[in-house]
Symmetry: C2
Subunit: 414 residues, 2 copies
């Protein structure tokens, strides 16, 4: 099956927004085994949209139309798609009720424009929208499946996940799709891609790598007649990848982020953590706090950007700073131990490094970072040389710091 | 003049990467007064790329082709574009030298594949690449300007800014383009868009709004015979916008971010700042440290996520916590005063709020945030009710905290 993704919106053509919806839908298509050969963006212009739909009709089985489902006159996705396929628009009662209920809840007046959103192509499947007034639509006509979705990501993403994905799951000639992700930290994407080349050559299951900040996600997807059969195809491949990357695999749970996996791991063991940050300046703690449930394990942390703060807040020794410099193994260790002591925490993680653009020397170049990790009475430190600009170095530091917490806590508390 | 943007790359069709290049180029086109009606993504497939180029030839004056200029056999943008316009590929000496020099510097062997990158359509303008081995190309043929650019953003962006933009500047019938941005904080995008509607209706200069996290950027662009003339057209409009938004305008300097404007403002006045963060958990300090030069004004900060840390680290009173709760005006004030005192800083900014998803009550709903700001012996506090998820609430809090620092420091130190 082939799909074409058409995003509608002048704001994309003006560069006002980045088209993240297309990427989301493309990844979902890959997951569903649907080939995506073309992505197109057109503005809120009937002639050009009609042209794009007609072109897509000739070369794709599924057409996604994203955006242009709003209440204004500029929004003409439904009207144009109905025209392209000679289908009448009719009012959908439930969609209308939903609009009235949402607008009243928000205390807004209902105008005639709003009812335009309740119009749907006759005979189509209506995707009711829990997060907004625009219903989505699946229209099957002339051998083509046309799927219309609202543009705001908070409406678009849940509709894709909860309604579009099941539609294709049910449709697939009885085929079941099953997919599992292996999330890897601390190994470069090109290295992983290279090492698992022998796996990516397979056709069922398929194996694909996705690079995320400091992480690589490997997705294994199988098609089969039953879920059990698909799982049987996926399992040995997932096991092989887990075996290859051992402790670098932090989760195979789709929804779990690195910071969540760290928070859960600490919480399960009844441990608390604190932070002492120099080059990351608060980003590391800010990331830990991203995880819901962070308050169970994290009470607070120290941002010790200057040497004075390193000394006064967490007792780094003046002699260490003088002799080894702030960016050193010694200071990273003292920062972690000091923070652990001051916060009375079980675990402490520290960062000190040169994020750039200035401040680098021949001996201590931009990108040099020391991360210290205190776990109970043990102390660990690792040296890194990250590439990229200031923001990239800091993001990489946060990812590796979380990775170290995982590694050393698992080492001390099996 | 109309442009079509064609991005080439299977990794976009698989959703492995988000197409930020298209947005960058689209914004640049808008700035250059070039209308962008279509954006297209195709994979590394000759037939489909040729089809896309031929379609674009019929409907655009300028075709951008982004990606597919690498050394592998999959990379076929140049070959396909040359075919579409019946132009021969010839080796460019300077591009070849550049490839040899870059690869030797990186200590890599040069293979025949690499020389493929030195081939360019005969008679075209070669855009030499300071950051990689793929040269860009401007090919003028059959009345169409076809511009080929490398896909990696660190090669693509400088080439667009330093070579493509001047090409159009020089081309424009002697027309000069001049543009200025007004960066506004603390006013919603739809409000700004509505209030300046009378300005956006103009055609020269043009006025466009761009929503950024917690900010709105208004761009004013004029075309004229000379730069002076263009500036004369832009100035009264910029002045009008500055007058309308007063202290909410934090800069008209293209390159300056909000955190940089705050750091510069403090630095100019010889002031230091510290942070006391609860709901933002380090993000605010992490953002301040984004600004180069942050070390001049920021020595460190406090992450006081739990009540215990609020008491122990920065002396928030137990009675205040008990009586008003951690999320209150009173505690926000005590956090700022306490951090200011402990850090011996001139300015302190504090955050306490309910970022969600849990923790909300009827009286204190998710999104309720208090931000305290101490400037010397003065203390200010503001209450906010942000919408959106946990991440959004925290980002909005950071933006408004920086905005408050600006406002109150300017109030105390004219």
């Amino acid at each position: 099956m082939t799909a074409e993704i058409i995003c509608v919106g002048t704001e994309i053509l003006l560069g006002n927004i980045v088209n993240t919806n297309a990427a989301y839908l493309a990844e979902k298509c890959a997951y569903l085994g649907i080939s995506n050969y073309y992505q197109v963006v057109v503005g809120d212009n009937e002639a050009r949209l009609l042209d794009a739909i007609n072109t897509a009709k000739d070369r794709a089985d599924v057409i996604f139309l994203v955006g242009g489902l709003g209440p204004t006159e500029d929004d003409l996705t439904k009207e144009t798609a109905a025209k392209a396929f000679n289908v009448k628009l009719v009012e959908d009662d439930k969609a209308k009720e939903n609009i009235i209920s949402i607008l009243s809840k928000r205390g807004l007046d209902i105008t005639n424009n709003n009812y335009k959103q309740a119009l749907v192509p006759e005979g189509s499947i209506v995707l009711y929208n829990d997060n907004g007034t625009a219903p989505g639509i699946i229209m099957e006509a002339e051998g083509t499946v046309t799927i219309m979705l609202p543009g705001p990501p908070n409406e678009f993403i849940p509709m894709v996940d909860k309604q579009v994905e099941p539609y294709f799951m049910d449709k697939g000639n009885g085929d079941v799709i099953y997919s599992k992700v292996v999330k890897i930290i601390g190994v470069g994407e090109s290295k992983v891609a290279d090492q698992i080349k022998f796996l990516t050559a397979m056709t069922n299951p398929t194996v694909a790598t996705y690079a995320k900040t400091g992480e690589v996600h490997v997705r294994v997807t199988a098609f089969a007649d039953s879920e059990d059969e698909a799982k049987t195809l996926v399992k040995p491949v997932v096991d092989k990848i887990k075996e290859m990357y051992g402790a670098n695999v932090y989760t195979t749970n789709e929804a779990e982020t690195l910071e969540e996996s760290v928070v859960h791991m600490l919480s399960k063991r009844g441990l608390t953590i604190t932070t002492a940050e120099s080059c990351t300046g608060g980003l590391l703690a800010g990331t830990i706090v991203n995880a819901a449930g962070a308050s169970d394990v994290f009470n607070g942390g120290f941002i010790t950007y200057s040497n004075k703060f390193k000394k006064n807040m967490i007792g780094v020794k003046k002699t260490s700073l003088d002799k080894y410099g702030a960016v050193s193994e010694k200071v990273a260790k003292e920062m972690a131990k000091g923070a652990q002591r001051e916060a009375k925490a079980d675990v402490a993680i520290s960062t000190t490094g040169i994020a750039g653009p200035g401040g680098g020397t021949k001996d201590k170049p931009v990108g040099l970072v020391y991360i210290g990790c205190a776990v109970k009475d043990k102390i660990y430190v690792e040296e890194f040389r990250f590439s990229g600009n200031r923001a990239k170095v800091r993001q990489s530091t946060v990812a590796m710091a979380l990775s170290m917490v995982r590694k050393y806590v698992l080492e001390c508390y099996k």
